[in-house]
Point group: C2
DNA sequence: CTGTTAGCGCGTTCAT
DNA sequence: ATGAACGCGCTAACAG
């Protein structure tokens, strides 16, 4: 591989001049030399060495993105937004996946610190576990002490820049919208009992019912994924009582629930209404189409990068609201 | 940020010793010193500088993955497989997205070359455009000349390691399976006319019909995504004739087609059978469930990394077969 | 506008 | 088993 020095020699100029023309310095270089350097670089197939640049500059151009599962469209959409934003900044994304294991989250932050990533974005719900949280915080602290910028997409429990989806509020609004359609008796497919996102959404939903003077929802817990929704829905069917409307705390769970209901001969929305949360694009062609709370996932990813890069010590917090989207999976209660 | 030298000084040992204990050298270090170094490193919050390591070693631990669109579950699944494999090798993935623009593909390879990525994996169909292909090949050549390893997932047109899905064969098998159900008159939602994957699948399908002595399928082109399938399906409806079964060259297009058919009152599979290709997991809950050709997407991603890392000059090629999965979106022709 | 030179943090000979 | 010293490729003063 040709080095800058090779190019400089080949062009008959100094190292510094070659550096100035090839790698964005603000300094000016005469047209003749610039020409010579450029053609030498082309001829030799010169490519900068980013590692050397990082070392010399003391700053890399990578941003780390930590998500839980790339095959979950929720995270894919967020990562996509982050990648596009990084792209606009001329930065490169190294993407890490935790497989929903908080330990891996910590390890990834360490790795990204080693890369001297300019920023680290962490997406995914925090777990209500103080000890693992403390260790993550510690790892983030050493990263930030070294000048690293951090933003999370989710709960603001790390003292970092935060893009906070209004989970509680969105679920609250959803409950109000569903009650307005005449529903009085609800169930919640509530996700894992220790996942903050799931908790917030379930609580927001319940609190709206309470404000409306309705009975608290039946709550069934389950994993935060498609199969969790399926299982929870099956469990619900065994004890449904007079429930007319089911709120799943995310679309992926709602998808599983839909399948479970169908397999058990329960027709949505005729026999039971169903709502989700997130508005995952690739799920828009489900039948019936899912009523949900739309979150601007890609924008959340790019916003997180902006927040992280703007981090000047006083972490900013940006809330993003969700909008209730009524589709075919719910119907008014008649009579 | 603490450097190795800081740690060495703090532990009262030489730089070399500190390096040996902290960063996997094969050399042995006495237990006492090892202990001291480790506790100093912990106390100072030392984290290796990957850039410095890369420079000193002359090799990075990043692998580049180039895909077209992260929100397309096909690519997300492949990238997921690649990330898991990289993880097992202790490597880190920088993920680049082309937005289906071949120019971006070239730029990304250059960027990854700059990172001195140990391997570059490129997923996504080649386009039948010689000039852009030549330029991509040229960029890959300078990367490979510098010792970079490359593997593509798709057509073997770059002279690199290749994970080749058996598109032609899978589509052929699908046609045979559908004909066995009694279908005699087919249409193909064929994707863009210059996309090799789309071409191979459409041709494989047609060639089976020909072998079976059936009429060639009606062909309608469209973008390789959900909306392309939707549009193509609409077009097809205007000229359908006696077609009883539609083959979309991928599941995402089939999803769009399903929506188009439904909106136009055409019931699948009652009025029309529909098949796709890929077996995207997140689409398995569509109703009716999609008949498709299953591809082991995650494995293709990890296989690509293996191929790339094994690259010793003579690029290997690994074909991966697809398996026809019959589901509810097709039904036998009765009478 | 151009050239010289001193590091950036670490791996790795080569001595000891 | 341990340490001293050089070099990886590049940027950024500084000098001219």
């Amino acid at each position: 591989m040709a080095t800058l020095e090779d190019v400089a020699r080949h062009a008959g100029v100094s190292l510094a001049t070659a550096s100035r023309v090839l790698n964005g310095s603000t300094r000016q270089v005469g047209a003749a030399m610039r020409q010579r350097v450029e053609s030498s670089a082309a001829k030799l197939g010169y490519r900068v060495d980013a590692a050397a640049q990082t070392l010399a500059r003391g700053a890399s151009n990578v941003v780390g993105v930590v998500i839980q599962d790339l095959t979950d469209p929720y995270f894919a959409a967020i990562a996509d937004g982050a990648i596009r934003a990084a792209d606009r900044h001329g930065m490169v994304v190294t993407l890490g996946t935790t497989y929903r294991d908080p330990e891996r989250e910590i390890a990834l932050v360490a790795t990204l610190n080693a890369q001297r990533a300019r920023a680290v974005l962490i997406a995914g719900s925090r777990v209500a576990d103080e000890t693992v949280l403390r260790r993550l915080r510690a790892e983030l602290d050493v990263y930030r002490a070294a000048g690293g910028r951090v933003a999370v997409i989710g709960q603001d429990v790390l003292g970092t820049g935060t893009v906070a989806p209004l989970n509680r509020e969105g679920a609250y609004d959803m409950a109000v919208a569903l009650a307005r359609l005449g529903h009085r008796r609800f169930a919640t497919l509530a996700g894992p009992p220790n996942l903050l996102t799931a908790i917030d959404r379930a609580e927001g939903f319940a609190s709206a019912l309470s404000d409306l003077g309705l009975r608290p929802p039946l709550e069934v817990h389950g994993a935060f994924d498609r199969d969790g929704g399926y299982d929870a829905a099956c469990e619900l069917l065994a004890m449904r009582g007079d429930v007319t409307c089911v709120f799943a705390v995310n679309d992926v769970m709602a998808t599983g629930a839909l399948a479970a209901f169908r397999e058990n001969g329960v027709h949505v929305p005729h026999d039971l209404s169903l709502a989700g949360f997130d508005d995952i694009a690739s799920l828009r062609d489900l039948v019936p189409s899912l009523t949900t709370v739309r979150l601007p996932l890609a924008r959340m990813g790019s916003l997180a990068l902006d927040l992280a890069l703007a981090d000047d010590g006083v972490p900013r917090r940006e809330s993003v609201g969700g909008e209730v989207v009524l589709r075919d999976s719910v119907r008014p209660v008649t009579g």
